[in-house]
Amino acid sequence: MDFNLTEERQMLQDTLRRYLREQYGTERRNQILESDTGFSPDIWAELAELGVLGALFTEDQGGFGGAGFDIAVVFEELGRAGVVEPVLDSALIGGRLLAAAGKADMVEQVIGGALHLAVAHGEPDSRYDLDHVNTTASDGKLTGRKAVVMNAEAADHLIVSAKDGDTIALYLVDKGAAGLDIQGYPLLAGGRAAEVTLDNTPGTALGLGLSDFEAVNRLAIVAQCAEALGAMDTATALTKDYLMTRKQFGRPIGTFQALAHRMSDLLTEMEQARSAVINAAGYVADRDADLHLSASKNLMGRIGRLVAEEAIQMHGGIAMTQEYELAHIAKRIIMADHRFGDTDYHLERFIALSAA
């Protein structure tokens, strides 16, 4: 039993934390949030250079990490700083799918920061179900609609799921392919997504099916939980500082027991959240991975809501303003519950898997 990070992971964490602290403050991020692209190409290139993207891939795939704890370390730091660049969708999900398909050249470009991807899987009424695909594939031509596709506008290629007969398969679609329509919009918690329509759009089969997608989706859940943990850590730290400095009735408001006890509860729940992320990262390749991941995602959803809401409430009005750091962080935390299955989805899945 050892709960310490390996030396390599510790270095990665230190480097990334320092870099983001220096380069990704509230002001810089607000500029990025308001930009047309919704992310910064400079930051992207620097993340690649720091090895952050490479840490998401195994050595076999051309990276130098790729395990649950590598992913957790990276995303916790990204979450801590409220990073909106599409590392999760473009590099992790997109890149790992290409790696599974044996596209070594493209993976190398992803790790180098040169290639952007989008994964078009969810559909307007699929909610969080992975096997709900109505987009069809016939003779390598795709037709259907994909909803809330992250990073679609910036992507060089889209990885699209479609049903060929009864089988779900993944296809590579080039940006600018015939019959591909991308309607983009900003997201509440930063970044951009799009509604994607395919009308007899040519795609190349990647030789991957639903089970390959599910395997990468497990990594995405680890990443999303870790990102939320980092953001929750920031929210908790901001709140603790505010309680110790904001004075009303002649004393710091944190000296009022009603608030002090709630802050204590938050800190206790944060320890639970950290354990949940460790469980997710540690068991992601386990036989019972889905049970562990559902437990973690459910708990992160519950604690995330508590932390976001209590942090805002204990701050008061200031936390309601867009220019204060917590506003963005709280949105990141809550929106993490709207991806890869929410609190309720994973509660049900946990019940079903426990009974099995």
């Binding site: 909610r127 919009y185 509440l188 009303q248």
Partner: protein, 399 residues
């Protein structure tokens, strides 16, 4: 005990329903339903329609041009208006300043300001909170110094709701810096076109502009704009806060919100079935509905007491706490119900942006509203302050 409305009250309810059906502009109702920002013109249009019917100042005595509705009548209106997606009447003039002027203002002030509220000449906003005086309002620092026929006002107010539309602001200002906190405060009416008044927008976390900072630099205010006596402003402010405490639970809004949640959850697919048939989600909706049914009756009990002439004190605080928690829970259910579609950012700030936002459940920006309504447990005395009041009244015999 009789839980039903009297025949007169039922007739009144019918009258309100018919009015809302015929006279509430459809374009405005649609904006309210989808939680879109209302323009100043939208709100003024609705005020004018109500005023033409004599229903704008619902709580004022008829002598001042009010509807003189009972607490029960006002409750009926609030419920029907929320169900019909009518905009809320902007409260600063009608619910807040109006009653203060009627009780403490001079005849001249009443004759001058009250008709201008009704006909829309003036749009009032409230200058209470300051950056250093939120929950601890009595520590406010904006000061007014008497200089001949004027006060010279310096300082800063914040969280001024719809201040960007207002031409008048009623302010709490410190006129005696040496007196005990609550005793050196006065109640002043300030024309916002006076040199030295500056309104700066505050953008909230959902991208909306509904509150502002208001700065005062050597602003000259004529002494006739002092309400009541100098240094008695705290008394008037407290009267204002305790006078209009019914409707605080937001029962009507909650009922409308819950209806929307059910509609969304019926349309949303979950494992091939409507989300509303999912036992887990259905249980959460039912819990809120059960709470809400009890709160509707709690609300009516308090209204009945008010109708009998008893001033609601700690019950108002209880309603505010419970009501805000329920409304926030409903917002939470709504954002969950739309699932991944909660993520797009619908904003009035981006021209034409909403046309590109997919809204498969016709639900409006439910995630934005979830964040925006965190304010319900913060403004108007946070839930922590309300709980403090409840504890103080019940366990030490006085507020």
């Amino acid at each position: 005990m009789d839980l039903s409305y009297s025949p007169e009250e039922l007739a009144f309810q019918e009258e309100i329903r018919t009015f809302l059906q015929n006279d509430l502009p459809k374009d405005i109702a649609e904006k309210v339903r989808l939680d879109r920002d209302l323009t100043k013109d939208d709100m003024e249009r609705w005020h004018a329609i109500l005023n033409a019917r004599g229903w704008l100042a619902q709580n004022w005595p008829a002598a001042y041009g009010g509807a003189e509705w009972s607490a029960v009548q006002r409750h009926i209106y609030d419920t029907e208006a929320a169900a019909a997606h009518a905009p809320r009447i902007v409260p600063f003039g009608f619910s807040m300043l109006g009653p203060v002027l009627q009780k403490f203002g001079s005849k001249e002030q009443q004759d001058h300001w009250l008709p201008r509220m009704l006909d829309g000449t003036d749009w009032w906003c409230q200058g209470y909170s300051e950056p250093g005086a939120g929950s601890d309002l009595a520590s406010l620092k904006t000061k007014a110094v008497r200089d001949g026929d004027h006060y010279i006002v310096n300082g800063q107010k914040t969280w001024t709701t719809l201040g960007q539309f207002a031409n008048m602001i009623f302010c709490l200002v410190r006129t005696d810096p040496d007196a005990k906190q609550q005793e050196g405060i006065s109640f002043l009416l300030i024309d916002m076109d006076t040199p030295g008044v500056e309104v700066r927008p505050i953008i909230l976390l959902d991208g909306c502009h509904e509150v502002n900072e208001v700065w005062f630099t050597d602003v000259k205010v004529p002494v006739e704009n002092l309400v009541g006596e100098e240094n008695k402003g705290w008394t008037y402010a407290k009267y204002l806060l305790t006078h209009e405490r019914t409707g605080l639970g937001g029962v009507g809004s909650s009922e409308a919100g819950l209806k929307a949640v059910k509609r969304i959850a019926k349309a949303a697919n979950h494992n091939g079935k409507p989300l509303l048939e999912n036992p887990h989600f259905a249980a959460r909706v039912a819990q809120v509905e059960i709470d809400l049914r009890a709160m509707a009756t709690t609300n009516l009990r308090i209204i009945s007491k008010a109708a009998a002439g008893e001033a609601p004190g700690l019950e108002a605080s209880m309603l505010k706490v419970k009501g805000s928690i329920l409304r926030q829970e409903i917002n939470d259910l709504a954002r969950r119900a739309v699932g991944p579609h909660a993520m797009p950012f619908a904003s009035e700030a981006i021209e034409g942006a909403n046309d590109r936002i997919p809204d498969p459940f016709d639900a409006g920006p439910v995630a934005g509203q979830y964040f925006n309504n965190r304010k319900l447990s913060i403004f108007g005395g946070s839930n922590e302050i309300q709980r403090g009041i409840i504890a103080k009244v019940t366990m030490s015999g006085g507020a």
